[in-house]
């Protein structure tokens, strides 16, 4: 595309992609409701085109306050993440075509823009700015539910996300002092600076024990908000880890734990959107393992898996969202047998489910197996074992539980209408991409950061995967048959959020009571001493109780005298 032919569009490519979204958000804030959905879909599409056509390199260096910033670092790693971010923004906003809520629409645009800005950030300060931008914009997708529960959840979410940003800023400042550079590039764990940055990334990537904001927040967001939420924040963290900490060994073990522990929670959770949130956590584990291994294949696997994952996870959230939109609930206990009246949604959900489970011909298979192969190439057998286990386990909650308990199983008696057309269209497009990646993995492989020489469709691969999955289903069917399945049950599952939602307030309450008691006793003692000391003066000259209360003039002059005394002592002693 030469600059002469399309001056307007080439001017566009001189603008950081994120900055497309911000005026767009401003525009969305003033446009009438009718015009907003086209803007919300069109703008990310335009951005996708821009990302696709951008040349590689460091495009927008900026010097600010003596710092070298880099707004647009385009390389293969950042391009693939930016591309999927723009695509999912198109699909997610198409899914939300019916929405008339200005707050959500503006937040969705700002959020997508910030996430893309962060992906293209070439230095830690720019990264930090967009990092916090995603936190602040995304919380409105939760608050937009406009219930008290959502408000509190959003607050907790915001605190965690902003904390991550603060840690990142602190880390960046220390890193600058250490190395004299703010360049966001491969780092080695070892100094406080890198540990802080690592922790900041870890919070957003939902590392074990830092994960609970995710399961807390995603089910609390709006129907459409969850779809958007599921795509950006955690994958931004995956990108940041892949950029900054590729090959860091501890990530392998963190990732292995991440793939395993959420599956148990997902199995018994009743809220289907929370099931998906746990499953999201489990899928992130695969990516984190890939980053930890750090070989070219592993990093390719991570990027590919993130790409595919965003699509099928969004598809699953969309289908559960459509059910919620039509029935008013996403609880497994209240759903079942919906295929009768929502057959299209059911089929699309199944496509999402088989994609995440890694059934051959669908997207999960061609990407997840890259990470597994990378693990076995590196002879990391315990990790490989964990990944195989997790691959099978993901089947049970996302592959079977979601479609089975919502659309099949016992008939709940509900006969909801089919999902609205724009939702079906969005889901259909997403499903089509899942299948396209599964059928023609070369399309995706061509976008990966490193050259790919990997062929997922070898006989033993397909057979092994089919064995794993089919016998998993067999186990599930047997468990259902003999009543061994945990089944559906209403309730709340304790997770690490118990620590700050229940334990911490209790402990703090007790501590506060203790401090109050001690303070009270101390204050009484000091007060008594003071009263005794002042008694002499007061008895002679002061009107009743003149010095006892806190009238500013008196106490102020007292303070003057005290500070002067301290000063004189310090000055004389020194």
């Amino acid at each position: 595309m030469s600059p002469d032919t399309l001056p307007a569009l080439s001017a566009l490519s001189a603008l950081p992609t994120a900055f497309l979204f911000l005026p767009g958000a401003l525009l969305a804030a003033v446009l009438p409701a009718r015009l907003r959905p086209p803007l919300l879909v069109g703008l990310p599409a335009l951005a996708a085109w821009q990302v696709w056509t951008l040349p590689e390199g460091r495009l927008m260096p900026l010097a600010l306050m003596g710092l070298e910033l880099e707004l647009m670092r385009v390389d293969r790693l950042s391009r693939i993440f930016a591309l999927i971010f723009t695509l999912i923004a198109v699909l997610g906003n198409l899914y939300a075509w019916h929405l008339r809520d200005r707050v959500q629409q503006v937040a969705a645009l700002v959020y997508a823009g910030a996430a893309i800005g962060a992906v293209f950030a070439g230095d830690l300060i720019t990264l930090f700015l967009w990092w916090e931008g995603t936190a602040i914009a995304s919380v409105f997708l939760i608050w937009a539910r406009r219930t008290e529960g959502a408000f509190h959840t959003g607050m907790r979410y915001l605190v965690v996300q902003v904390l991550s940003g603060v840690l990142l800023l602190a880390g960046a400042a220390l890193y600058w002092r250490e190395t004299g550079s703010l360049d966001f590039t491969l780092m080695r764990l070892g100094s406080p600076a890198t540990w802080l940055i690592f922790l900041a990334f870890g919070i957003k990537a939902a590392f074990p024990l830092l994960h609970n904001w995710l399961q807390d927040a995603y089910p609390a967001a709006t129907v459409t908000g969850t779809v958007i939420l599921s795509a950006f924040t955690t994958k931004l963290a995956i990108y940041a880890l892949a950029r900054g900490f590729a090959g860091t060994e501890i990530l392998i073990w963190i990732g292995a734990v991440m793939t395993v522990f959420p599956v148990f929670f997902a199995e018994v959770e009743n809220d289907m959107r929370r099931v998906l949130a746990y499953s999201l956590n489990n899928q992130l584990g695969f990516m984190v393992v890939g980053i930890g291994i750090g070989s070219e294949m592993a990093l390719n696997g991570t990027a590919a898996h993130a790409f595919a994952h965003i699509l099928y996870k969004a598809l699953l959230f969309m289908s559960v969202g459509a059910v919620l939109y039509r029935t008013g609930t996403a609880r497994a206990t209240e759903l079942g047998g919906l295929y009768r009246t929502m057959p299209l949604t059911a089929i699309l959900a199944v496509i999402g489910a088989v994609s995440i489970s890694g059934v051959p011909l669908f997207s999960g298979f061609v990407t997840k197996s890259m990470v597994l192969s990378a693990a076995s190439d590196a002879h990391l057998w315990p990790v490989w074992g964990a990944l195989v286990f997790a691959s099978a386990a993901v089947l049970s909650h996302s592959g079977i539980k979601i479609p089975y308990f919502i659309f099949f199983a016992h008939d709940s008696g509900r006969r909801p209408a089919e999902a609205p057309r724009h939702m079906l269209l969005a889901m259909g497009l997403t499903a089509a991409m899942c299948i396209a990646i599964g059928l023609a993995p070369g399309l995706l492989y061509a976008l990966l950061p490193y050259p790919v020489e990997y062929h997922p469709y070898s006989g033993y691969h397909v057979v092994g995967q089919m064995q794993l999955l089919l016998f998993g289903v067999v186990a599930f069917a047997l468990a259902m048959r003999f009543g061994l399945h945990p089944g559906e049950k209403r309730g709340t599952l304790l997770d690490s959020d118990w620590l700050y939602r229940r334990a911490a307030p209790a402990v703090l309450g007790a501590a506060a009571a203790l401090v109050r008691a001690i303070w009270g006793a101390g204050a009484a003692a000091v007060g008594a001493l003071r009263a005794a000391a002042m008694g002499f003066i007061r008895a002679r000259s002061g009107p009743e109780g003149r010095l006892a209360h806190v009238w500013p003039t008196g106490s102020m002059v007292e303070w003057l005298a005290i500070i002067l005394g301290v000063m004189l002592v310090v000055v004389y002693l020194a």
């Binding site: 019916h98 809520d101 539910r145 406009r146 219930t147 008290e148 529960g149 509190h152 959840t153 129907v223 148990f264 929670f265 199995e267 018994v268 939109y325 039509r326 008013g328 996403a330 295929y339 009246t341 059911a346 076995s376 057998w381 490989w384 195989v388 286990f389 099978a392 386990a393 089947l395 099949f408 509900r414 006969r415 909801p416 209408a417 089919e418 609205p420 033993y460 057979v463 092994g464 064995q467 794993l468 999955l469 089919l470 016998f471 998993g472 289903v473 067999v474 186990a475 069917a477 061994l484 945990p486 049950k489 209403r490 309730g491 709340t492 599952l493 304790l494 997770d495 939602r501 229940r502």
Partner: protein, 103 residues
């Protein structure tokens, strides 16, 4: 199936009814194929043709059993975190379009 359902739904109903038979056939086929072809084993146990079948079966069973324990251990009432926690509240109906299919 006395209801007047869309054709697609009838198809899905058919699938649901015959699912177990298809599953059994598929599982047998996959197991047989595993012993028939070279599995290019890299992992110590992978060379056994039914390894993945075993892994899938054992994994799923483990998940289900551990999950039962987990619920016994960590399960609480829906309003454990208070009546106004997201878990205990209904989705605000004014943001939805709850509608049943017209017969």
């Amino acid at each position: 199936m006395s209801e007047n359902l869309p054709p697609l739904a009838r198809l899905l109903g058919l699938v649901e009814r015959h699912f177990l038979k298809a599953l059994a056939a598929g599982a047998a086929l996959a197991l047989g194929a595993g012993f028939a072809i070279d599995m290019h084993a890299k992992a110590p146990l992978e060379s056994f043709g039914g390894f993945y079948a075993l892994a899938g079966f054992v994994s799923l069973s483990t998940v289900l059993i551990v999950a039962r324990l987990l619920r016994a251990l960590l399960g609480r009432q829906e309003d454990y975190y208070g009546r106004s926690a997201v878990n205990a509240e209904q989705y605000p109906a004014d943001q939805l379009e709850v509608r049943d299919r017209e017969p």
